[in-house]
């Protein structure tokens, strides 16, 4: 269990993390989402004690990471796939890490096998591809068999097979009861992997909830109706508390009412419906919607779309 309580982090005049609170629970995969530069990595660095919060505090399993002794037995983290001396072999890289926490050296070969790097164990990490680096980073995180795992963008640089492998690994780690926090800027990927989502933008918490709830709440979720009696149906639905807006000459966009109830209302009034459908925003759209105002870097012309 990871708990952040009103955490802020300031670098000079930049507020990288702004009054952020969240909880990451055991036994599920929690996706940590946000556009680039939204403070995900900074938050993860604070969880493992590399950066100190300017205010607030973060605990892992109820304790401050900096107070842990031999923390690899409790928390494993992949923060940077390239964080290895390029001249050292993969096996030696894990050996020094194992030594630092008195982990038996046999465990090194075990995790190398688990991430599929046994064949290149004696190759220097400077010759590794980004994908192999990610696998080595994951092996390092698994080394101490920790109950909490933190992965910063673990699928970067992986091929489709590797992505599938990471997805299954994260799921199985969570099924074993571990706390798994994984960051990504890819909503679609998180929809397939995570049970719970924490969404941040510009260092602030934008949303936190289950993946299903997240889709439900997003503004893109609405009912679409086509009817020759648009004005009459609109009035009726509004009387029942729905929010209705025109969508073309005969179209209505309805929120605040399920499509089933729209159909019942129309039938009771004898109004004809050509079409009645539930429009679900894709997670990607929901994410864009949520973070639009909080993205640090974006192509200004592309978003407004009116320039051409």
């Amino acid at each position: 269990m990871i708990e952040a309580e009103r955490v802020s982090k300031r670098y000079g005049s930049t507020l990288a993390v702004d009054d952020l609170s969240f909880t990451v629970s055991d036994g599920q995969v929690t996706g940590f989402l946000g556009p680039n530069g939204s403070g995900k990595s900074t938050t993860m660095r604070m969880i493992v004690g590399l950066d100190a919060p300017s205010s607030g505090h973060i605990t892992v399993g109820g304790r401050n990471y900096a107070e842990l002794r031999f923390p690899l037995h409790e928390v494993g983290a992949l923060l940077d796939a390239n964080a290895a001396h390029p001249g050292r072999t993969a096996r030696n890289h894990l050996l020094w890490l194992a030594d630092s926490n008195m982990i038996a050296r046999a465990r090194v070969d075990e995790v190398l096998g688990r991430v599929g790097l046994s064949d290149v164990a004696h190759r220097r990490t400077g010759d590794f591809s980004l994908g192999m680096g990610q696998r080595l980073g994951i092996a390092a995180a698994l080394l101490g068999d920790p109950g909490t795992l933190i992965f910063d963008e673990p699928i970067n640089g992986l091929d489709p097979e590797g992505i599938l492998w990471v997805r299954q690994l994260l799921r199985s780690l969570a099924q074993e009861g571990r706390t798994v926090l994984v960051s990504s800027h890819l909503m679609g990927e998180m929809a397939l992997t995570a049970d719970h989502l924490i969404v941040i933008g510009r260092g602030r918490l934008l949303a936190s909830g289950s993946v299903a709830e997240f889709i439900e709440r997003s503004s893109g979720h609405h009912t679409h109706a086509q009817t020759p009696d648009a004005a009459a149906l609109s009035t009726l639905l509004q009387q029942k508390g729905a929010t209705v807006s025109a969508d073309g000459a005969q179209g209505l966009s309805i929120t605040g009412m399920e499509s089933r109830d729209v159909g019942i209302t129309a039938a009771a009034a004898g109004l004809t419906l050509y079409e009645l459908s539930t429009q679900r925003a894709s997670l990607e759209e929901a994410f864009m919607e949520l973070t639009r105002e909080h993205a640090d870097f974006r192509a200004s012309a592309g978003v407004t779309g009116g320039a051409g």
Binding site: D26, E67, L72, W96, L97, D99, E110
Partner: protein, 282 residues
């Protein structure tokens, strides 16, 4: 708080101490083992140490051999004043550089590669990490340079034996001087680790170290007398050289004085580096 339920894993990864928290001593011991593994698994270590051995064992005897080839042209006064020890340890000055660079790399190579995140993630007690690095490196440097200095001394004296100007290891102060040569390099190495920790970048740290060891002594020598001599004897390189002398030079501290001055610099930099490591984000 929910209990984590998961299948029993390999016993090899069970926390080493079943009775509560591991002691800080164990954390330090593990960090030292880890640092030794790091040190022996990169090629730069091997190359720097080979360079160190070659310079210490090679330069002294080489200069001695050159001197001997022109021995007939020496006056009696020159032969009387010949310092057999000075020639033995002529390579130490250059060895300061390879030991210095290797010491700097102990810290800066980790910052360069980003591995420092793993190091501090594995051992959040950053002061202990610095201590482990300094201790590990010091032991390695002590062993390598002691035997190098001893070899340089023995080879040089063997070369000088026919001229009867050499010294024996059992002569007064000689063994202490051999030890002093090694301690000089150990302390320079420790200082280098601290400079690396404080500056984090290889280029910057090496530049500062070389400036202190090479450039500043040259500049100080140009100061008006007696400032030049007074300041020079307190510079790290001069304090180090004083430790491997038997005959005390006029512009140098005593061997013990040199030792304490260099230890003082080391302690000061250790403190500074430890404070900086703890205060800064990694």
């Amino acid at each position: 708080m929910s209990q984590i339920v998961r299948p029993p894993d390999d016993a090899s990864v069970a926390p080493p101490s079943t009775s509560g928290r591991p002691s800080l001593g164990r954390v330090f011991l593990a960090a030292t083992r880890s640092e030794f593994t790091k040190l022996r698994t990169v090629r730069s270590t091997v190359w720097a140490l080979i360079f160190t051995v070659v310079t210490i064992v090679g330069i002294g005897p080489l200069l001695t051999a050159l001197e001997l080839s022109r021995w007939d042209k020496r006056t009696a006064t020159e032969i009387n004043g010949f310092d057999a020890l000075l020639y033995s340890f002529a390579g130490i000055n250059l060895a300061q550089l390879s030991i210095g660079v290797l010491g700097v790399l102990m810290m800066t190579s980790e910052y360069g590669a980003g591995a420092i995140k793993l190091t501090f993630g594995a051992t959040p007690q950053r002061g202990l990490v610095l201590g482990a690095k300094v201790v590990t490196f010091s032991v390695v440097v002590a062993v390598v340079t002691f035997f190098s200095c001893l070899s340089a001394f023995l080879i040089t004296q063997a070369l000088l034996a026919p001229k009867h100007v050499g010294l024996s290891i059992s002569d007064a102060g000689v063994f202490r001087a051999v030890l002093g040569g090694a301690v000089h390099l150990v302390l320079i190495g420790a200082i280098a680790v601290c400079v690396g920790a404080a500056l984090r970048r290889t280029a910057g740290a090496v530049a500062v170290l070389f400036a202190v060891l090479l450039v500043i002594p040259g500049l100080v020598a140009l100061l008006p007398s007696p400032w030049n001599n007074t300041i020079t004897q307190y510079l790290p390189s001069s304090a180090g050289v004083a430790m491997s002398a038997v005959v005390q030079f006029p512009n140098l501290l005593s061997p013990a004085g040199g030792f304490f001055v260099l230890c003082g610099y080391t302690a000061l930099l250790l403190l500074l580096a430890a404070v900086m490591l703890r205060r800064r984000d990694a």
